[in-house]
């Protein structure tokens, strides 16, 4: 779908030789920190930007040259804006619906996304979450085959997030292909069939959440301590644990240990803590999360 895409803004390279594809009838997450090139990639697929290098095909069409044929078939949720400042939520949704041949029932969608509560309030005075839900409704009301959603739940409260996730899952069940960008790990883990992890405009990993998190067969231990570690702590812990494990500093008060999470590893870690006079605040044992995968691949935290 995207092949060898390169996009630059001035000197800054936003997307650097990115290639990825999307399966039909699935949810694909493009995961990465802010500034990773997610939105630029999405907007190139939506036809807003022309690829500076490489090719992009969406549903087999060129998003620029075949724009008129492609647009009715895709739905687009922008990260923000997209409505007149004085327009009412339902009025805006009805308008977008009227541009399509076989739109969804607007009343159903309004109820489904809780937009009825917006009443006669003009768009500029809706809450961020309400604007997001309206934006999602506008993306799907035309009954598209493929929906692009850019950070669909950024800034939403937990209830609205669950509603949004449930809607996206229902869309997939009914045969809609969904491409979403997110910097939320749990969103990608929960929703996506396929995850593309990108950073600095490059694809650094692809796979199902299962493949990505269980890929090595190892588990993860996260150690958080009450005071900053003494200098050289990761190296000395690494030496104590031996070559089967990998110790990575997360910040000055936490680090991550990948390897066999068995009793002997735990015993070694607590002995090491005692020996170095650091007090563990928490020692979390668990499967790797996408967060850990990202950390392992980039050496950086994803959270913003």
């Amino acid at each position: 779908m995207v092949e060898n895409l390169v996009m630059r803004y001035g000197d800054k390279v936003a997307v650097d030789g990115l290639s990825l594809s999307v399966e039909r009838d699935s949810i694909t997450a493009v995961l990465g920190p802010n500034g990773a090139g997610k939105t630029t990639t999405l907007e190139t697929c939506e036809g807003y930007r022309a690829p500076q290098q490489g090719t992009v095909r969406v549903l087999g069409l060129d998003p620029r040259a075949d724009r008129r044929a492609l647009l009715p078939r895709i739905g687009v949720m922008l990260q923000d804006g997209g409505a007149w400042s004085g327009v009412r939520a339902v009025e805006m949704l009805r308008h977008v619906a009227s541009l399509h041949a076989h739109p969804l029932d607007v009343g159903m969608l309004v109820e489904r996304l809780g937009l009825g509560e917006c009443g006669r309030t003009p768009y500029r005075r809706l809450s961020g979450g309400q604007q997001q839900r309206l934006s999602l409704a506008m993306a799907v009301v035309g009954r598209p085959e493929l929906v692009f959603v850019d950070e669909p739940t950024a800034g939403m409260d937990p209830q609205a997030r669950r509603t949004t996730w449930a809607l996206l899952e229902e869309l997939r069940a009914d045969g809609v292909t969904i491409v979403l960008t997110t910097h939320y790990m749990d969103e990608a883990e929960q929703l996506a069939d396929q995850v593309h992890v990108i950073d600095h405009g490059r694809l650094i990993a692809s796979g199902s959440p299962f493949q990505l998190t269980r890929g090595t067969g190892n588990s993860t231990i996260r150690l958080v301590v009450t005071e900053p570690f003494p200098p050289g702590a990761p190296d000395s812990l690494q030496a104590a644990l031996g070559p089967d494990t990998e110790v990575r500093p997360v910040n000055e008060q936490s680090l991550m240990i990948s390897g066999p999470a068995d009793a002997s590893t735990l015993a070694t870690v607590s002995a090491w803590c005692q020996q170095h006079g650091v007090l563990p605040e928490s020692l979390t044992l668990g499967q790797r999360t996408l967060e850990d995968v990202f950390l392992q691949l980039t050496g950086r935290e994803l959270a913003t």
Partner: protein, 263 residues
């Protein structure tokens, strides 16, 4: 709280664009509603022209201003021109500037509505609002004793002036909206409107501007005002104003199509 669900198959894809005419009419109705909802624009569109008309008539009586024709007959065509200018230029520029700012143009750019449909929708909304303006102002003018020179020819002439004036000013309004930021567009569109209202021979005939008069005849505002006066006051075919407006429309459209950015 439970998450509501919908029957399986509700979201089954059924993509497609509505017929072009349906899209244009939806866009025109939407834009008309938004124009009429905006209080400031309504002030600009109807209240200011009416103040100029009524105030002008009262002031002329008081200071004994002497036009070769009656005061209402002289002022009304120009006030109609002012109303057309306020909608097709100032309102359009401000609305479009903020549409860019708020990502409306970007959003609609991803909908089935093509750009030609968006433009036609805007034109439809402009013409509808102008119709309401002309009706309101004409009724007030008639109540003040306006007796226009009405014949098929003069009405068609005035209509041609309104249409070409709308085209000229709309292209100039879009030129500003497409190049400046939204706030700068707001300021510039209002400033130009005020300057043209005072010095652009819209309401007051070019002949009242002395040596500056011939220059005002070449301004789009002067051509619009003089054209309306030639048709409705003198019963003549406004040939020169129509040519001037056509030239402005051509230049404005060319520049706008070269410079307009949708985001």
């Amino acid at each position: 709280m439970t998450t509501p669900t919908t029957p399986h198959g509700t979201f089954r894809p059924a993509p497609g664009a509505a017929p072009f005419a349906t899209q244009v009419s939806a866009q025109a109705r939407m834009e008309t509603r938004l124009l009429l909802r905006n209080g400031e624009q309504l002030l600009l569109a109807v209240v200011i022209p009416l103040i100029v008309l009524v105030g002008g008539v009262l002031a002329a009586d008081r200071v004994g201003l002497d036009f070769p024709y009656g005061v209402v007959d002289t002022l009304t065509p120009g006030v109609l021109a002012l109303a057309v200018m306020s909608t097709s230029f100032t309102s359009l520029a401000i609305a479009t500037g903020f549409e860019r700012r708020y990502g409306v143009l970007k959003r609609l750019g991803a909908s089935p509505l093509p750009r030609s449909g968006l433009l036609l929708g805007k034109v439809g909304a402009l013409l509808f609002v102008e119709l309401l303006q002309v009706l309101t102002i004409s009724l007030v003018a008639l109540a003040l004793g306006w007796s226009p020179d009405l014949s098929v020819g003069t009405v068609l002439g005035a209509l041609a002036v309104v249409l070409l004036g709308t085209a000229a000013f709309a292209s100039l309004g879009l030129l500003i909206a497409g190049t400046l930021r939204a706030e700068a567009t707001l300021a510039a569109a209002n400033l130009v409107y005020l300057l043209l209202m005072a010095g652009g021979a819209v309401v007051i005939p070019s002949t009242s501007y002395g040596a500056f008069g011939p220059v005002t005849e070449l301004l789009p505002s002067g051509a619009l005002g003089n054209g309306m006066r030639e048709a409705l006051l003198h019963g003549a075919l406004p040939v020169v104003p129509l040519l001037v407006l056509a030239a402005w429309a051509a230049v404005g459209t060319l520049l706008t199509s070269r410079t307009f950015t949708w985001e």
